[in-house]
Amino acid sequence: MVLHAEGLHKRFGATRALDGAGLCLRAGEIHALMGQNGAGKSTLIKLLTGVETPDAGSVALDGRPIAPATPLDAQRAGISTVYQEVNLCPNLSVAENLYAGRYPRRFGMIDWRRVRDGARALLAELHLDLDVDRPLSSCPVAIQQMVAIARALGVSARVLILDEPTSSLDEGEVAELFAVMRRLRERGMAILFVTHFLDQVYAVSDRITVLRNGGLVGEYLPADLPQAALVRAMVGREVALAGARDPGAGVAADAPVVVEACGLGRRGSLHPVDLRIRAGEVLALGGLLGSGRTELARLLFGLDRASAGELRIDGRRAELHHPADAVARGLGLCPEERKTEGIVAGLSVRENIVLALQARLGWRRALPRARQAQMAEHYVAVLGIRTADIETPVGALSGGNQQKVVLARWLATQPKLLILDEPTRGIDIAAKQEIMAEVVRLAREGMAVLFISAEIDELTRLGDRIAVLRERRLAGELPGGSDGQQVLELIAGQAG
């Protein structure tokens, strides 16, 4: 046993974040830490890494009690962490990032030769071959993640904590990350792996610890805990893996085409694409990271200008120069980057919900305050947004609830077509199911939906049709309810 924590309690004001949680990590294992948003995963990690100190409880490393007061303490003790948002310096080189804060010195000056050689050696351990002088920002997110891990390894870690490392990686990159994790496991390292992706848990972990409401639910072996049981342990009740449409309940062929793209493309980002979406239809759009998914969404919504082809909305040619043009024509977009492009963290839930509708009405026709409140209350109730009240700043809400607020913002405009770019990324399973169920319900009422997702089971479960992008062009289309394997082959480009 490398790390043993038990009876951890932590309160933040009136909120009881941890209530007797515990954790056992053994050498040479990958240990998944599971729980919904608010279950206490982040708090537990903060206690282990010295970001916060526990109110009660104990942590022991190699049998010796430790009480890290700062992240540096924890690192020196042998606990290293890679956070969800890569917290390196994008403007520095790879080598500088690996050694920042602990540069080797020679005659009082930084010994750059040792920095570079050491960086290469560290990356080689992870079987990574890259130019260590490149600025980090020029590397893909996946590589940045690996660099973050390499940095964590640099300080002779016994325990490595990976907080949602896969949320911005595509399938191939996830596989690479898992290979690295397995290699580290063989070296006897204990790895704590936090994720929202259930299939990844089963793919890589040796043991699972489940937290709920700040308490420990239990520790399991993956073989003893089928997926449904895991979900039940996390949520505390049955959750229907819902959202599934009745197979065969396809959209009537005479349903009006809401949006049609004819050869729509943009030089350097997307080859011309033909696409039609009918009223009441969910078009699921899949593809690897960088396949052009987000680029297509941006073109359809006027965030980028098309350089080729044309876009028709309700049969009429539409030139979109600004998202406001798209909004005026009844389009909505929940962007992939919730924090930077979605929510306005400093504004209240009410203000966030009315923002798009108000933008469409223009600045002169202000929505009366009572009407705004009524609308906000309505969507808070319908989508089950958990917030103290509608005047709470959105930044204070959990990720899943923030995403619901962005969804509510667009529903309030009653769009003809709603584009959802990875709406379920990084949010917990219950919120995910609620959002997907709501999307399906709205489609049944006649709204067209373009549902972009990296998760194949979401594509097959939700889509009336499934379109797949590969290398910035449309690779093909499959009917709804297609086999996941078929979709995967189309995404990866193995099929003919």
Partner: protein, 353 residues
């Protein structure tokens, strides 16, 4: 310890009042005025004479009028993550354009109100153009606001000198003096200009959706853009508005001294305006702003200036004294600093002797 408990048990009304964002700037202003009143009993006196209101308070408000106007424009620019450091130069341009126009139109000995209206139109037109230039550099060219407006801050004085031909233009035209020196209903006319702009602005921001849009852009410009807010158009018009405010201030200043000095009119005004905005509790990172706060901030600055003159501080050191007072006011308003002071006080008194 006893003090802390007394504070905790104190009336919740007081606490609520203190938690209002404007309470600390107001408190700072009140303290300054009261301090003056203590050392100089006549300081707070108001007197009604010859159908006009006289007194230091009226003087402070009147002298602060140009700064208040410029601060209002600055507040909104800062609210959308911008900055306008050209306001002093724009003020000088408006002032010299007004003086130049009056000189040209009254040359033939012709009087009447036509020169006044022409001067106002020309000066405000020039100021609006300046604002438009700043806005285009920021929004269309994509320059950093501080650099974009630095251009006009430097070049603007040159433009003003071109207009004035390097001279200080003196204005010999009585109607123009009314703007910055006249009285209406016993109060300086400049105060009516300030109140008019303030009320119009509040109505515009509160009764329309502009207030929401400005805050959304300030907090997260990208998300506002995606939500369909015309963020660039709004940002552009706020720079134009800042130019408008600087132009109005230029009219008041040149009217008040019956001349226009291209080099010195509005000198360092941009820094006072930023300070007034900061004192008023507007977040310099954008998003959260308070127009009323900026008005109070500008009044604090003018009160400081008046205080220093009234106290007879030697002119060589008055900037240092002002800086110290500004620092004290800023610290008083900082919640972090107050929390530290409180912690220090409770530790001192709580520790066994």
């Amino acid at each position: 310890m006893s003090q802390a408990t007394a504070l905790a048990a104190g009336p919740s009304l007081l606490r609520r009042a203190l938690s209002h964002p404007l309470s600390w700037p107001l408190l700072a202003l009140a303290l300054l005025l009261l301090g003056n009143g203590l050392f100089n009993p006549g300081f707070l006196a108001l007197e009604w004479r010859d159908g006009r209101l006289y007194g230091n308070l009226v003087d402070i408000a009147n002298r602060a009028a140009p700064l208040i106007l410029v601060s209002l424009g600055m507040t909104l620019v800062i609210a959308v993550r911008g900055l306008d450091i050209s306001v002093g130069a724009v003020l000088a341009i408006a002032a010299t354009v007004a003086a130049w126009t009056i000189a040209r139109t009254t040359a033939g000995g012709q009087a009447g109100l036509a020169p006044l209206l022409l001067a106002i139109a020309a000066a405000m037109g020039a100021a609006l153009l300046c604002g438009l230039w700043n806005g285009l550099l920021v929004v269309k060219v994509g320059m950093q606001p501080i650099i974009a407006t630095l251009i006009l801050m430097v070049a603007g004085r040159g433009i003003a000198q071109l207009v004035s031909d390097g001279q200080i233009l003196t204005i010999y035209y009585a109607p123009y003096a009314f703007l910055g020196g006249g009285f209406l209903l016993g109060l300086p006319f400049a105060l009516f200009v300030v109140v008019g702009v303030f009320v119009a602005l509040r109505l515009l921001l509160d009764r329309t959706a502009l207030g929401l849009f400005v805050r959304a852009i300030g907090h997260n410009p990208l998300a506002a853009h995606v939500a369909g807010v015309r963020a660039r158009a709004i940002t552009l018009s706020l720079y134009v508005f800042s130019g408008f405010c600087a132009g109005l201030a230029g009219l008041l200043v040149s009217s008040n001294v019956a001349s226009a000095d291209a080099n010195n009119a509005g000198q360092l005004l941009e820094l006072d305006a930023i300070l007034a905005v900061a004192l008023g509790g507007t977040a310099l990172a954008g998003g959260r702003f308070s127009l009323a706060g900026s008005v109070i901030g500008a009044l604090i600055i003018q009160t400081l200036t008046t205080t220093i003159y009234a106290a007879g501080v030697p002119p060589q050191v008055n900037l240092v004294v002002k800086a110290v007072l500004v620092l004290a006011v800023l610290l008083l308003q900082s919640p972090e600093f107050r929390a530290r002071l409180r912690a220090l006080a409770t530790r001192r008194t709580g520790r066994p002797a």
